[in-house]
């Protein structure tokens, strides 16, 4: 049988071009027996349904992946989320991870930083350096990336409400290293909408928060073309208890809200859409997760094309980071978590993720130790180099089960997105608690199934053992908070206060108007204005959001 003309077309126009630009990792991929592993398995007979729903990798609707050769060209980025205590200690951990073969950094900030409080704010008490690194000013950021070349490493920053400030600090540090902003690579999470429903690190109400986000889209399009301006995140929605389909639906609905907000301020969709990225959860339900990732790619491509009329292929591609499911980890028999993480990581890779964080076995107990982090990274390396799944593209395509599940999840998500649209969009659905209630209902239903034994959690409600001692855990030095506060005081004493005051005044005036705030925030961080000071100016202008605590 001769090759289908569309396949030949893809090989000539898309695959060939990609191979020229990005040669594959090996000249040939073979199994132990010497048989060649095909790059892409396709049906014997390619029909219209196949072309419509699956197509070829690197081409619309991207069901089979965003790159023509996927991991044969380049493995996913192994990006371990890390950060704790002080900038100096986190810097040590990053350099350890880079030495161990991690290929991108992912910065965890402590809660005061994420919520825009300096380390000496009363609300920060007890939280400084706990779940991430404390960053009060540019001085901390300089220490955090000391001896890490920002033109070589890509950095993802889990920062949302104050993301403009942390991005500005990153740009300023790069500049000091002699790296122009056009050369830096990375991602800011910058996804405020999911904070209101799942993660909780909001500062301002939704509407001014969206203005900050569109300011970032606009500024970055010219100043930091290599930076992903947002990571639209289902991860936390899933951790809060949603189903896979809800995770996908609420995430893509949030994505639509960001795109619409940017269009509303007059940005061209093809200018900013290529820098949108996504972040999903991978749970242990391997096949459901693979289907979810594939469905998400297809649905987003269709939304961008049909709803938002994007034309550039890069605007249609859903590129995503994945983290394994933290809430699936158990405090009992913690070595079992390594197996859970393996299944979850495998799901992410079979689903075509662009980057991956694997959780550590001890994270149901505390932040991970260095040993546990190493095992988590090794898990990815084993999947990459030993399992063989990275040697062919979208290997589960064509499985009756996987394709049916992909269709089902896509249909469920479309129905939910339509419901949100009818109810006036995501912001209205957040304000009236619709999305929160959906997630809570799913979380409660799951817990009831665990309670009554319908759902087995190994080591928790079945197959328990008596465990004596706890494993060695990472303990943080309680002096971190006082050390950080004294460093902050030293920065405040050393800087030129009149420059700080004037940049903050300009920021206040600009926040009240419509000017893009990014250049002004960049000037403010360079003057060593602190994160808390900058956020306070914005709080005064934008107001604060408060959780109503409805059940």
């Amino acid at each position: 049988m001769s090759k289908h003309p569309k396949l030949m077309d893809w090989e000539e126009k898309i695959l060939q071009k990609s191979l020229e630009r990005f040669p594959e990792r090996q000249p040939q991929f073979t199994n132990h027996g010497g048989s060649e592993i095909p790059r892409l398995a396709v049906p014997v007979e390619i029909d219209d349904a196949y072309l419509h729903d699956l197509g070829f990798p690197g081409s619309y609707p991207y069901t089979r992946g965003v790159q023509p050769t996927m991991y044969r060209g380049k493995l996913w980025t192994m990006r371990q989320y890390a950060g704790f205590s002080t900038a100096a200690e986190s810097n040590q951990r990053y350099r350890f991870l880079l030495d161990q073969g991690t290929t991108g950094l992912s910065v965890a900030f402590d809660l005061p930083t994420q919520i825009g409080y300096d380390s000496d704010h009363p609300m920060a008490a007890g939280e400084v350096g706990k779940v991430g690194v404390a960053i009060d000013s540019l001085a901390d950021m300089e220490i955090l990336f000391d001896q890490i070349p920002l033109d070589k490493v890509s950095t993802s920053m889990t920062i949302n409400a104050p993301s403009a400030i942390l991005l500005a600090m990153y740009v300023a540090v790069a500049e000091k290293q002699g790296v122009p902003s056009a050369k830096i690579q990375g991602t800011i999470q910058n996804d405020i909408l999911k904070e209101y429903v799942a993660r909780g690190t909001y500062i301002f109400p939704p509407r001014p928060s969206l203005r900050l986000i569109t300011d970032i889209f606009q500024w970055c399009a010219t100043e930091t073309p290599g930076f992903n301006t947002i990571s639209i995140s289902g991860y936390h929605i899933r951790e809060a208890g949603s189903t896979a389909a809800q995770e996908m639906a609420f995430t893509l609905a949030n994505g639509c809200a960001y795109v619409q907000a940017a269009l509303d301020v007059g940005l061209d969709v093809d200018l900013f859409a290529r820098r949108l990225s996504f972040f999903f959860n991978a749970s242990s339900d391997l096949l459901e997760e693979v289907a979810k990732f594939r469905a998400a790619r297809r649905l987003w491509a269709r939304i961008m094309k049909e709803r938002f009329h994007a034309r550039h292929p890069a605007s249609l591609m859903l590129r995503f980071h994945t983290q394994t499911a933290g809430s699936s980890l158990t405090a009992q028999q913690i070595d079992n978590n390594i197996v859970r993480v393996t299944l979850q990581a495998l799901a992410a890779v079979l689903g075509g993720t662009q980057s991956l964080h694997t959780n550590s076995r001890d994270e149901a107990l505390s932040l991970p130790t260095e040993d546990s982090v190493r095992t988590a990274l090794r898990t990815q390396q084993i999947i990459a180099h030993e399992s063989g799944v990275a040697d062919t593209v979208d290997p589960l395509a064509g499985s009756y089960f996987i394709e049916a599940a992909t269709d089902r999840i896509e249909a469920e998500a479309m129905a939910l997105i339509a419901k949100i649209d009818q109810a006036g969009g995501v912001v209205s659905c957040i304000e009236d608690g619709f999305i929160q209630r959906q997630i809570e209902n799913s979380a409660y239903a799951f817990q009831r199934q665990v309670e009554n034994g319908e759902r087995v959690v190994v080591g928790v409600n079945r197959f328990q053992t008596d465990e004596e001692a706890s494993p060695p855990l990472l303990r943080l030095d309680p002096a971190v908070e006082t050390d950080q506060v004294s460093r902050l005081k030293a920065v405040r004493a050393k800087r030129d206060q009149s420059t700080v005051d004037s940049t903050l005044r300009i920021l206040g005036a600009a926040a009240a108007g419509k000017t893009n705030l990014m250049p002004i925030i960049l000037e403010a961080v360079k003057s060593y204005a602190t994160l808390g000071e900058i956020c306070q100016v914005l709080r005064n202008n934008f107001g604060e959001y408060r959780d109503r605590g409805h059940l």
């Binding site: 158990t330 405090a331 107990l365 409660y444 706890s470 605590g549």
Partner: protein, 142 residues
């Protein structure tokens, strides 16, 4: 205030500090409600003082705290202290979350009635709240 006005099964579930992980708090709140408790949930990001004030204002028989950010050693005792300062040291405080086992005795020492670590069944937690409420009632009738 007399025991007559104290709702026998009214409890407050609180999230102190900056931690936004509220899945556990909400699941426990709903489970308690399903078991006949009247539950007030504070929402996230409350100060210890706000939680104590809400507990007193709502006249609850017990307070449940949840923390997954590692700040429990500071925040749980701070709630106990805030209740004491407000003259409500008779309201028992229970807590749960990502809490290493060796921290449990420190928290008990600081006046927390009971600590639930990951994997604790809802049934265990409901039972503990039932007992805490009963102790609170009997304490008040003395």
């Amino acid at each position: 205030m007399t025991t007559d006005t104290t709702h026998k099964n009214r409890v407050l579930i609180g999230k102190a500090g900056l931690d936004g992980h509220d899945r556990g708090a909400k699941v426990i709140a709903r489970a308690l409600r399903d078991h006949g408790f009247e539950v007030i949930y504070t929402g996230i990001r409350r100060t210890p003082e706000e939680i104590a004030a809400a507990a007193i204002q709502e006249d609850v028989a017990a307070v449940g705290l949840s923390s997954l950010s590692g700040a429990h050693l500071r925040l749980f005792p701070a709630v106990v202290e805030a209740l004491r300062q407000a003259g409500a040291s008779d309201i028992p405080v229970l807590g749960g979350g990502v809490i290493p086992r060796e921290d449990v005795p420190l928290l008990i020492e600081a006046g927390i009635t009971e600590i639930f670590t990951p994997g604790t069944s809802v049934a265990t937690i409901v039972k503990a709240f039932t007992e805490a409420c009963a102790t609170h009632r009997s304490g008040r009738t003395l």
